[in-house]
C-alpha cells in the first residue's frame, strides 16, 4: 500500500521564505522516511496557499530530493493557457527525472476562479478542452486545438515528459459519474469525503475499470485524503491537532465566508468534529493503524494521502507525526494490497 502527503502550504504565521524553506525540508524528510509521494494543492488569492504556482515549488523540490514522487492535487486546468500547461508538465517531468504525478481539476471555488476573470460556468468546458490538449500532446509531442478551429497551434512542438506515455494523472472525485470517468481514462482518484460516502465511488471506479477490459494489476489507484497528527500520547496528538486546526480552517473558509457560499466539503469548527465526520485523525500510532484499516475497508482504497502540516502546527510536530507514521504504522502495510 502506498502513502502520500498532501500540502497546501497554508499560512502558518511565520515569514513566507522561512515557511517555504521548512516545507522543502519536510519534503526531504518525507522522502527519507519512505513516503511515496508529495502533492501540493493550487489556490489563489487566499492564505490557504503561499505557493499559488505549485509547479514552481515542485521544481524547487525536485532539486532537493531524488526518489519521492512530486505532484499536484490538483492543477487547476482552466487557469492555464493549455499550451503553457503542456510545456510545464513536460519540463517538470524532466526536472524531476520522471517523478511527476499530475493532478487535474476544474477548480471548485468560484471565488478563486474569478481571480483570473473566469466565469465558473465556463470551467467544465475549459477543463475538457485543456484535458484534450494535454492528452493529445502526450501522444504526439505537438499541440493541437480541439475542433480544429486553429490549425496554427499544431505547429508548436513541445518538450515531452520523461514518463512514457505521460505522468500518472489524479482527479478529485466527488461523484459516481466522475469516478467512472476517471477509471475509463486511466486516472487515479482521490477523495475528500468520508469513507462511507467514498465507497460507491470506489466500487464504480473498479467496475468501470473492469469494463475497459484492461488488466486488474494496471488499475489506477483509489485514495482518500485525511489530516493526520500522531504522538506517542494520544491526548498530546489531539491537543496539537486542535491548536493547529484553527488557523487552517480560517484559511480554508476565508474566501467562502466572505462570498457567503458554502464549500462542497465541510470543514467543521473544531478538529474533533472534523475527526468525527471522518476527514481527519489524531491519536497514537496504534490508533492511527486502526483508523487506516477502517478507512481502507469502508471506502475500498489502494492508497491514502495525509495532511501532516497544516495551520500553525510546528515543524517539529509535523516531523513527529511523519516519523511515528513511518516507523510504527507504515511497516504493517508493507507489501500489503488491501484494496477490494
Amino acid at each position: 500500500m502506498q502513502f502520500g502527503v498532501t500540502d497546501h502550504i497554508d499560512a502558518a504565521g511565520i515569514p513566507i521564505a522561512d515557511q517555504i524553506e521548512e516545507r522543502l525540508r519536510l519534503v526531504q524528510y518525507y522522502e527519507q522516511l519512505g513516503f511515496d509521494r508529495y502533492m501540493l494543492t493550487e489556490h489563489h488569492g487566499t492564505p490557504l496557499s503561499l505557493a499559488p504556482s505549485p509547479h514552481l515549488f515542485l521544481a524547487a523540490a525536485s532539486q532537493r530530493t531524488t526518489r519521492i514522487r512530486l505532484g499536484t492535487l490538483v492543477t487547476l486546468l482552466p487557469l492555464y493557457n493549455p499550451l503553457r500547461l503542456v510545456e510545464e508538465v513536460g519540463l517538470l517531468d524532466q526536472l524531476t527525472c520522471g517523478r511527476l504525478e499530475l493532478g487535474i481539476g476544474r477548480g471548485v471555488s468560484p471565488v478563486e476562479m474569478a481571480t483570473y476573470g473566469i466565469d465558473p460556468a465556463d470551467t467544465r468546458a475549459m477543463f475538457a478542452e485543456a484535458y484534450e490538449v494535454l492528452t493529445q500532446a502526450f501522444c504526439s509531442d505537438t499541440v493541437s486545438h480541439p475542433g480544429g478551429s486553429d490549425s496554427v497551434r499544431e505547429t508548436m512542438v513541445v518538450v515531452p515528459p520523461v514518463q512514457d506515455p505521460h505522468p500518472p494523472l489524479w482527479y478529485g472525485v466527488a461523484s459516481v459519474e466522475r469516478a467512472e470517468w476517471a477509471a475509463r481514462n486511466g486516472i487515479n482518484m482521490m477523495c475528500l469525503r468520508a469513507a462511507d460516502v467514498v465507497r460507491p465511488f470506489s466500487d464504480r471506479f473498479c467496475e468501470a475499470w473492469e469494463e475497459t477490459g484492461r488488466p486488474l494489476e494496471e488499475r489506477p489507484l483509489r485514495g482518500v485524503d485525511r489530516a493526520l497528527v500522531i504522538a506517542e500520547n494520544g491526548d498530546e496528538a489531539r491537543r496539537v491537532a486542535t491548536d493547529a486546526y484553527a488557523a487552517f480552517r480560517h484559511s480554508l473558509m476565508l474566501l467562502w465566508d466572505a462570498a457567503g457560499i458554502t464549500p462542497p466539503t465541510t470543514f467543521p469548527p473544531t478538529f474533533e468534529l472534523w475527526q468525527h465526520l471522518g476527514g481527519a485523525f489524531a491519536g497514537t500510532p496504534d490508533e492511527a493503524y486502526e483508523f487506516i484499516i477502517d478507512q481502507v475497508e469502508v471506502a475500498g482504497l489502494d492508497t491514502m494521502n495525509f495532511h501532516l502540516a497544516f495551520g500553525t502546527i510546528s515543524f517539529d510536530d509535523t516531523c513527529r507525526t511523519a516519523a511515528l507514521f513511518a516507523e510504527e504504522v507504515m511497516p504493517a502495510f508493507e507489501g500489503v494490497s488491501l484494496g477490494r
Binding site: 513566507i16 521564505a17 505557493a51 514552481l56 515549488f57 521544481a59 503553457r84 496554427v152 505547429t155 518538450v159
Partner: protein, 352 residues
C-alpha cells in the same frame, strides 16, 4: 545589488544527442559552478515551440536553480508578458522571489517571434499594447499588494489581495530593446554588445524625462543601469575559440531563423520581413560577435576590461552555451574565465 559585473544569458538550446533531462542537469551544474565562482546573475530567455529554448517556462527552471545556488541572482531575460495572464505573472514573481530568497531579477519583453503570439491566442499586431498594459498591472500589484485589472484594456478580473508577496522590497526589472522604453519605465537596459553613446544618452534622458510616468518599475534612489550581452568562447588558442564561437553563432542564427518558419501562416510577406529585422541584425553582427567573443584568456581579459572601462557599462552577460557549442566547450569557457580571466581583471583593477 549585483555582486560582480558578470552574468550569464542563456536560451537553453537543445544539444543534439544529449537527452533532455541530462541537458537540464548539466545546465544546473554549470549555474552552480558560476554561483560558486561569484557570478552575479543567470538570465534565461523565453521561446516556445522549438529547440531554441527547451525550458519555455523559465520560472520552473529558475525555481530548480534556486535550490542548487545560494548567491547568484536569477530570472527571466525576458518574460514575454503578452503570452501570460497577469495574475499568473505576479504570482510567479512572488513565489520565485521567495524560493530564491530574494534573488529574482526580472527581464520583460514583448516577444520577437510572431507565431509564438498566435500560439498563445493573440495578434502579433496588438502585442505592444498588451505588453504595456500587463506591465502596468504587474507594477501596480507589486506596489500595492493587491492585483487588479482596473484601468486595463485587455483584462477583467476583480481585485485580489496577494496571499504571498516578493521577499525583496523591489524587484529589479530589465528591458532589452528600445532604450527609450527601458528609460521610460525605469528599467535597467540590456544591450547586445557595446552600447553607442547616442543610445546611452537616449536611455538616460528617457529615464529622467519620464520620472512621473504612470508605469515606473524603479524605486527611490535607483539609478539607470546598462548591461551588455556578448557571446563568449574561451580556449587555449584563438583559433580554437573562434571555431567554437562560430558554431555558437551558426546554431543560434539557424534556430532563430527556424523560429520564424511559421510566420507566413499568419502574416503578409511584408509583415514577415519586418518581423525578421532583429534576426537580420544578429546576422549582420555575426562576424563581429565571433571575433570579439572568442579568444584566449588574455585576449578576453583585455576586451572585457575595455568594455568595463567605457563608462557606460555596469554589467556584462556572457552567452554560453549557445548554438552548436558543446557542453564541454561551455564548461571550459566558464572554467577559464574563472581561473584566468577574472584574476587578471582583478589585478588590473587593483593596479589601475
Amino acid at each position: 545589488v549585483l555582486a560582480s559585473k558578470f552574468g550569464i544569458f542563456d536560451h537553453i538550446e537543445d544539444i543534439p544527442g544529449t537527452p533532455t533531462s541530462r541537458l537540464f542537469r548539466d545546465r544546473l551544474e554549470l549555474i552552480k559552478t558560476a554561483d560558486e565562482a561569484g557570478f552575479a546573475g543567470y538570465h534565461l530567455a523565453e521561446h516556445h515551440g522549438g529547440e531554441l529554448c527547451m525550458a519555455p517556462s523559465q520560472e520552473l527552471f529558475i525555481a530548480a536553480a534556486s535550490q542548487v545556488t545560494t548567491q547568484i541572482r536569477l530570472g527571466p531575460m525576458v518574460k514575454l508578458l503578452p503570452m501570460h495572464h497577469p495574475v499568473r505573472i505576479v504570482e510567479d514573481i512572488c513565489t520565485l522571489d521567495q524560493l530564491t530568497e530574494g534573488r529574482l531579477e526580472f527581464g520583460v519583453g514583448r516577444g520577437a517571434v510572431p507565431i509564438e503570439h498566435y500560439w498563445f491566442s493573440h495578434e502579433w499586431g496588438g502585442s505592444r499594447d498588451l505588453f504595456t498594459d500587463t506591465l502596468g498591472i504587474v507594477q501596480r500589484s507589486l506596489a500595492g499588494g493587491e492585483i487588479s485589472s482596473e484601468g486595463s484594456r485587455f483584462f477583467d478580473f476583480p481585485p485580489m489581495p496577494l496571499s504571498t508577496r516578493p521577499l525583496q522590497e523591489r524587484i529589479p526589472f530589465w528591458y532589452p530593446g528600445s532604450p527609450v522604453t527601458a528609460g521610460r519605465h525605469g528599467m535597467s537596459l540590456m544591450w547586445p554588445g557595446k552600447i553607442d553613446e547616442a543610445a546611452h544618452e537616449l536611455y538616460l534622458r528617457s529615464w529622467e524625462q519620464h520620472r512621473d510616468s504612470e508605469i515606473r518599475m524603479d524605486g527611490p534612489g535607483d539609478e539607470p543601469r546598462v548591461g551588455y550581452s556578448m557571446l563568449l568562447a574561451i580556449a587555449p588558442t584563438e583559433r580554437e575559440a573562434r571555431d567554437i564561437a562560430q558554431r555558437g553563432m551558426d546554431g543560434l542564427v539557424r534556430r532563430t531563423r527556424q523560429s520564424h518558419r511559421f510566420d507566413h501562416l499568419k502574416l503578409s510577406a511584408d509583415e514577415c520581413d519586418a518581423a525578421q529585422a532583429p534576426l537580420r541584425a544578429i546576422i549582420a553582427n555575426m562576424d563581429t560577435a565571433v571575433q570579439f567573443g572568442a579568444g584566449t584568456p588574455n585576449q578576453i581579459a583585455e576586451r572585457v576590461a575595455m568594455l568595463l572601462d567605457d563608462g557606460m557599462c555596469d554589467y556584462i552577460c556572457f552567452m554560453f552555451p549557445a548554438g552548436d557549442m558543446t557542453f564541454d566547450e561551455s564548461r571550459r569557457t566558464l572554467d577559464l574565465f574563472v581561473t584566468e580571466v577574472q584574476p587578471q581583471l582583478a589585478q588590473e583593477t587593483a593596479a589601475g
